[in-house]
Amino acid sequence: MRLPVAVKVGAFALVVMGTYTYYANSIPQIQSKPPAELSLEGGNVTPAQLVKAGEEIFHTKGTCEICHRIGQKGTRAPDLAGIGARAGKTKPGMSAKQYIIESLLQPGAYLVEGYPNIMPQVDKPPIALNRSEVWALTAFLESQGGNVDVTLDDIPKTAGATAGGAPAEIKIPGDPKAGEVVFSTKGACIACHKAGKIGASPVGPDLSQIAKIQTPDYIMKKILDPAGSGTVAGFPKGVMPPMFGQTLTAKEYVDLVAFLLTLK
């Protein structure tokens, strides 16, 4: 029996596409995941924790490894081995941390000889590191042969101010004033958190600038599922109560979120 031409051609085409597909599935599979936001502000972070967080940023969200290597000369960018030790001697009058911060936020201000001016500002999109992340990354780079002495105050307040590339705008219909009352009374948030002028306890992170450093969806999720949203570095896990989804009414919940979103 002779097969119809359409069947033969169709089978041939399927074999061709199947071969390409099989090959594409056989080689290394690498996804590109959206970077997570890191917040360290208000936390009691040890230098070791800071360096570890910075190392993570170096390998992931910072995309530093695309051009920089540690212990290997790059063709696009300098080797960062020992940067903590030599950063303080590179530019007269500048300490190691000042030089590193300048290199991250204004990469074109000083160019290492032999390398082009191609580095993007790390606190601007698309890398868009926030202030905490710039802090941690600076600490990590200082740790490469130098002393980690950078503090959050060393990072300019403007760093990362426009970072994040405008996450999708969310309109919360709650009343911030009513939310502040919830924060202080029924929610009892004030027992652990500071929020601007109210609250003072150091049990949980300072929320005075939470809307600036976190996304609305993170804040909303954190209230309902504290454990599932992760714990800020330097604070004990499992302290925040998980029952706000049951104890707060919908209005109270939305008011509370609206209040937290005013904290910038």
Partner: protein, 577 residues
């Protein structure tokens, strides 16, 4: 964002109010991303076809008009018939894509509208203009014949002008998403919309897509002819579709040769816009994608050459040139292997120790751009040489200066090869920025050689003595499967490049301006993308077959559609290229 919406949906009325204007909605079952991906790829496939084919259809019509050869007129009409049938499907898919954006990505679409609203009216006007022009072009084939043929040809040219203009407008939207311009940090338009249109990647993609559309149109038309050839009942029919397949492939190959240069231009502009994006594209998570691309392009080069060599078997006198084929195969195969060599490999620690690192001590050197640029330029030169040999297969020049002409041609090819190899080797000894500039010299050497060889070849073989007519229809049937292989491979490649173009934005709708906060913000790995590309490519060919079948129904029972008798080609004519 979906997690957020889920949370909100679990809350009572007030919280639900917050979700009334969601940034995203979820498409049932497959999710919004796959829905948009599938429809966008299908729409682009059809759009490429209906924009690409008329470009060479009108050129073929002009050839037929000026030479008085009715066969070219028939062929042009056949090509336009194919696009005509696909026209409404393209529009339908475009509308569907728009609905998906509005419905499932409302905030993204609102933002795009805030920038590009003035272009919507232009797009609509061009769409109407093109539709009406193509209708008159197709249906007026007989009416505007004879002394009115110039009007008909002008309509063909005009439809291409409108079609290309539509492409430029749509490209401004998609390229803005890759390399936004004319907006401030918050994404607001700073001045004129022209700055947003004329962004870094707009013109490179315009050029790349225009050329690629011609290649794509040529390969699909050739595959259609191959399908008809394989099912032909008579020698006459076989000869006709053999010829049509040859022309389709010739068009595709001619445009394909310059496509890598357009690709370089696009890549350079991506680097110029944003180094991080460029490096992520070539050396980051997408680096393996280019190995697959190299394999696909290698298949296209090998297939195109193989088809030409098979085609030479039906040309009396081509025996003279068969001795060159093993050399050509050698260059192509070596070039293919170099191009498909990865720079570094994901391997186990033991394997890395055994090899001395993630780079192979010898083959690793072939994985860098210097080697790959050299390989692809040599493959282009080789393919061009195959075409030259095919072109002169049944011709013997009678010009007295033939010896000198041949010597200059070989010298031009040899010089181009030397320049390509020199800069390929030299590239290993200079900085990357200098090395990138070398590719320009390599490209110019190849283009220069092509120009010189053709400038000599055309007059040298004008009025040449024929060694026999091309025996159209006697080509080996496996050659037709090569044409189908080329069409399938190029369609799949288009899907892959669509994934690359979209994937380099990573978790951004509009790079650096509007972040993708949806559940689909992860850019999938190459295997997942390949599965999707294959599914959509199958759907595309199924739709194409169905549309062509529908188009054929209208012709059944009519011996001469639109008064165009199918030409008798058996025995062939050596007047054709």
């Amino acid at each position: 964002m979906v997690a957020l919406l889920t949370l909100l949906s679990a809350l009572p009325a007030l919280a639900q109010d917050a979700a009334k204007e969601p940034a995203y909605r979820a498409f049932p079952l497959i999710g919004s991303r796959l829905a948009v991906w599938a429809i966008a790829q299908l729409h682009l496939n059809f759009a490429a076809f209906i924009l690409g084919v008329p470009i060479f259809a009108v050129i073929i019509e002009i050839i037929g008009w000026r030479t008085g050869d009715a066969q070219y007129d028939w062929l042009s009409h056949e090509f336009v018939k194919l696009t005509f049938a696909a026209f409404s499907t393209t529009a339908l898919l475009g509308a569907l894509l728009l609905f998906l954006f509005i419905g499932y990505y409302p905030k993204f679409w609102t933002y795009m509208t805030s920038i590009f609203f003035p272009t919507y009216g232009v797009y609509a006007a061009l769409f109407f203009a093109e539709t009406f022009t193509v209708y008159i072009w197709y249906y007026g084939w007989d009416w505007l014949s004879g002394s009115r043929k110039w009007i008909h040809v002008s309509l063909g040219v005009l439809s291409n002008v409108f079609g290309t203009a539509i492409l430029l407008v749509a490209n401004s939207w998609v390229t803005f998403m890759i390399s936004p311009a004319g907006v401030d940090e918050s994404g607001a338009l700073k001045g004129s919309v022209w700055a947003a249109i004329n962004n870094f990647t707009w013109m490179p993609i315009n050029i790349h897509r225009l050329i690629a559309n011609i290649v794509f149109g040529g390969t699909i038309a050739a595959a259609y002819a191959a399908f008809r050839f394989l099912g032909a009942k008579t020698d006459e029919e076989r000869a006709r579709y053999d010829w049509m397949g040859y022309i389709g492939n010739f068009v595709a190959l001619s445009a394909f040769i310059v496509l890598p240069f357009a690709g370089y231009y696009l890549g350079r502009e991506i680097y110029a816009f944003n180094q991080t994006m460029g490096i992520t594209m070539m050396g980051g998570f997408m680096s393996w994608l280019w190995i697959i691309q190299a394999i696909l392009i290698g298949v296209l080069f090998m297939g195109s050459n193989y088809y030409l060599w098979l085609g030479m078997e039906r040309i009396p006198g081509s025996e003279r040139y068969r001795r060159y084929v093993p050399m050509l195969i050698g260059i192509l195969a070596f070039g293919f292997m170099v191009w498909a060599t990865p720079r570094s490999m994901v391997i186990t620690l033991d394997e890395a120790r055994a090899m001395g690192g993630t780079h192979h001590p010898v083959l690793g050197f072939l994985g860098v751009m210097s080697a790959k640029n050299t390989a692809v330029n040599m493959m282009i030169l080789t393919t061009f040489l195959s075409f030259v040999l095919y072109r002169r297969a049944n011709k013997v020049s009678t010009k007295p200066w033939v010896g000198t002409g041949m010597a200059i041609q070989w010298a031009a090819l040899g010089l181009a090869a030397a320049v390509v190899i020199f800069f390929g080797v030299y590239g290993y000894f200079v900085e990357s920025l200098v090395r990138i500039g070398f590719s320009v010299y390599q490209v110019l050497a190849v283009l220069g050689a092509i120009f010189v060889v053709m400038a000599i070849d055309i007059p040298m073989f004008k009025g040449a003595r024929s060694t026999g007519a091309i025996r159209w229809g006697t080509i080996a049937p496996r050659s037709q499967y090569v044409l189908i292989l080329l069409a399938v491979t190029f369609t799949w490649l288009m899907g892959l490049m669509g994934f690359a173009r979209s994937g380099i934005r990573q978790h951004w709708h509009v790079y650096g301006i509007m972040r993708d906060n949806s559940v689909d913000a992860v850019t999938p790995a190459i295997g997942y993308a390949a599965n999707m590309i294959t599914v959509v490519t199958i759907a595309f060919f199924a739709l194409v077959l169905f549309i062509f079948w529908l188009g054929g129904l209208g012709e059944k029972g009519r011996a001469e559609a639109h008064g165009h008798a199918a030409p008798v080609i058996a025995g062939g004519s050596d007047r054709r290229p």
